[in-house]
């Protein structure tokens, strides 16, 4: 079967293919990777599936779509960071746009974010730089791949900057890159096209997603580590009462934080330290690290591990930020403020399972 695609005509920001990542390949040294903001990523897929369902388009009677049925809630999408990219549709398709608002235009007509649209062959889709937040998601029925008939690599299509040289997940997205739609969805797309929004009919937004994101400062809920529990209550409080600023060195690998007071005050004396040398000296050997861990290097400027983290780390860890807060954090920009509060692992787990239930995961 022939595969339709979108072609990148212009790109100034950063774009990559992302799904839920390859958590299962960390023992080989691969980054788990995956969509920075799972809320926006899963919402994009849900918009497409809800549109099909609302129009009673069933995928039940299609053949060869087992893979699609299993993965329809988390098909690979394009993650665009800071917008500034344009695409040309080389075949008809059904897309959804979510995440940071790129003031998307289809053939120069402004369309709403958090919406599902149809594109016809030759249509132009443009993303501008978003005014707030970072990552936007462009999803297509059945998912995108950057090579024809591409198979997932170790269970995922996610691209990781540090691993692109290995060549297992295609090329870095650039001008001329072709973003293929799954061939299996061709028939389905044709039957659904009649019933989805044409760009001119920009319509009511999908829920108010702003409720999910932080309006200003974000309080990150962390599960304390055993190291944190060994700290004195003064040290614990010092950490929990510090306002941190997101540093410009933050990226998909990690968010670096600076103490918002540190510019004013000179170097901290030993008794102003949050982590004592005695506790720090117990953490010398590298160990496996996971999503959301708060590393605490000697300079006491925390690093929060994000989706493209490495699998091992050597810094002391104060705790782990709950995942639904990490999705929110991933959309925050350098200069914005965060602080920490504690949560039990039971509560964090309940919230995550409730979150995934909304997406049938």
């Amino acid at each position: 079967m022939s595969q339709g695609y979108l072609e990148i005509i212009n790109i100034n920001g950063q774009a990559s293919i992302q799904d839920l990542g390859r958590l299962n390949a960390q023992h080989l040294g691969f980054s788990a990777s995956g969509a920075a903001d799972e809320f926006a990523f899963l919402s994009a897929n849900k918009l497409i599936n809800d549109t099909l369902a609302a129009n009673k388009i069933s995928i039940k009677h299609q053949h060869n779509i087992d893979e699609l049925k299993n993965k329809k809630s988390h098909c690979a999408a394009i993650e665009v960071t800071l917008g500034q990219v344009s695409f040309e549709a080389k075949a008809a398709c059904i897309i959804a746009i979510t995440g940071a608002d790129c003031q998307a235009k289809i053939n120069n007509i402004a369309v709403n974010n958090w919406q599902c649209y149809q594109l016809q062959t030759g249509d132009m889709l443009e993303f501008a730089m978003p005014k707030t937040e970072l990552h936007s998601y462009l999803a297509v029925l059945g998912g995108f791949t950057c090579q024809k008939a591409q198979k997932p690599w170790l269970g995922s299509y996610s691209q990781t900057i540090n691993e692109m040289a290995l060549g297992f997940t295609g090329e870095k997205l650039t001008v001329g890159s072709k973003l293929y739609f799954s061939a299996q969805t061709k028939v389905l797309t044709e039957s659904a096209l009649e019933k989805t929004n044409k760009p001119k009919e920009a319509n009511k937004p999908f829920k108010a997603p702003s409720q999910f994101y932080a309006q200003q400062n974000l309080t990150l809920r962390i599960m304390p580590s055993s190291l944190f529990l060994q700290m004195s209550s003064e040290q614990q409080q010092r950490f929990l009462t510090t306002d941190y600023i997101i540093s410009p060195d933050s990226n998909r690998m990690g968010y670096r934080l600076g103490d918002s007071r540190s510019q004013k005050s000179p170097a901290k004396s030993a008794n102003e330290k949050i982590l004592s040398e005695q506790l720090r000296s117990r953490c010398l050997l590298s160990m496996p690290v996971t999503y959301g861990m708060v590393q605490f290097p000697d300079n006491e400027q925390p690093i929060i591990l994000m989706k493209e983290r490495q699998t091992m780390g050597g810094y002391p860890v104060l705790g782990t930020v709950m995942q639904t807060d990490l999705f929110r954090l991933s959309q925050m920009r350098p200069g914005e403020k965060v602080n920490f509060t504690l949560i039990s692992h039971q509560k964090a787990q309940q919230q995550l399972t409730a979150f995934y239930q909304k997406y049938c995961l």
Partner: protein, 264 residues
């Protein structure tokens, strides 16, 4: 101010017949909605590591689909599970009971004997061209360790190393232990480009860089052998966790010959 205490820990004291001195404490900590961190004493020990990877295999085998991934290192084992299928409290109970059986099934160890056989069969032999021409760190390492470059080569290639962890980049295996005379802290500023196949050392460890990447370890040579192969969507590393590794010196001509042999 109230001291925070959250019940997210479980410890299991393995009591040894040799008494408290040899006992090892396993701590299980919930570190994420989907991950538990099992940790033992913070030390590099072959006996302890063999226990960790045996327990790892038992957990994977006995808990099946509940487990998404396990990652072992020197003294830790990270266990990723599906939070939709099990709560962390249930997972801790299951792992504790496997750990108890695991401990009972193991022979009583008699301290750390460095000659303990690897659980993974043969020793892998890695050819190394210890390079003195390029501007790498062999000369600097020799100087800082107060020995000749030949002695660095001799000491580095005399040891049998053990693969303790894979990480950093795909196929990068942390090997220990380097002879004490070669221990150096990491470079104060990392190199932006370390070549593929670079043999490097830092502190108690040695490793081979599988692909060109940035790196803060001291480079003393290079191997022509690839550190991974990929076939039919599988990724196999040349060195696996739990395997033993030895290095042997080759000449520049041999390095080139092996490299060319691999290409044809």
């Amino acid at each position: 101010m109230r001291k925070v205490s959250v019940n997210n820990m479980s410890s299991y004291q393995e009591s040894d017949t040799n008494g408290a001195e040899n006992s090892t404490q396993l701590t299980i900590e919930v570190v994420a909605e989907n991950a538990l961190l099992l940790s033992w004493q913070a030390k590099i020990s072959l006996t302890q590591h063999n226990k960790i990877i045996t327990l790892q295999a038992m957990i994977v085998q006995q808990l099946g689909e509940l487990i998404i991934e396990t990652v072992a290192s020197y003294h830790c084992l990270m266990v990723y599970f599906s939070p939709q299928l099990s709560t962390s409290t249930q997972m801790i109970d299951k792992i504790n009971s496997i750990a108890k059986n695991h401990h009972a099934s193991l022979e009583i160890d008699k301290g750390d004997t460095p000659k303990v056989k690897s659980l993974h069969g043969d020793c892998i032999k890695i050819p190394v061209y210890y390079d003195t021409e390029q501007e790498w760190d062999l000369a600097d390492v020799a100087k800082r360790c107060n020995m000749s470059m030949d002695d660095v080569i001799k000491q580095h290639s005399a040891e049998t190393y053990h693969g303790y962890a894979l990480g950093f980049t795909p196929g990068f295996c942390y090997l220990a232990s380097l002879p004490e005379s070669l221990h150096l802290p990491r470079k104060s500023s990392p190199r932006l480009k370390v070549p593929q196949g670079a043999i490097a050392i830092a502190e108690q460890q040695s490793a081979i860089y599988p692909i060109e990447s940035p790196g803060g370890w001291h480079i003393i040579g290079q191997t022509p052998l690839p550190m991974y192969e990929s076939k039919n969507g599988q990724f196999n590393t040349t060195i696996n966790v739990g395997q033993n590794v030895q290095f042997y010196a080759i000449t520049k001509a041999e390095f080139i010959a092996i490299q060319q042999g691999l290409q044809t």
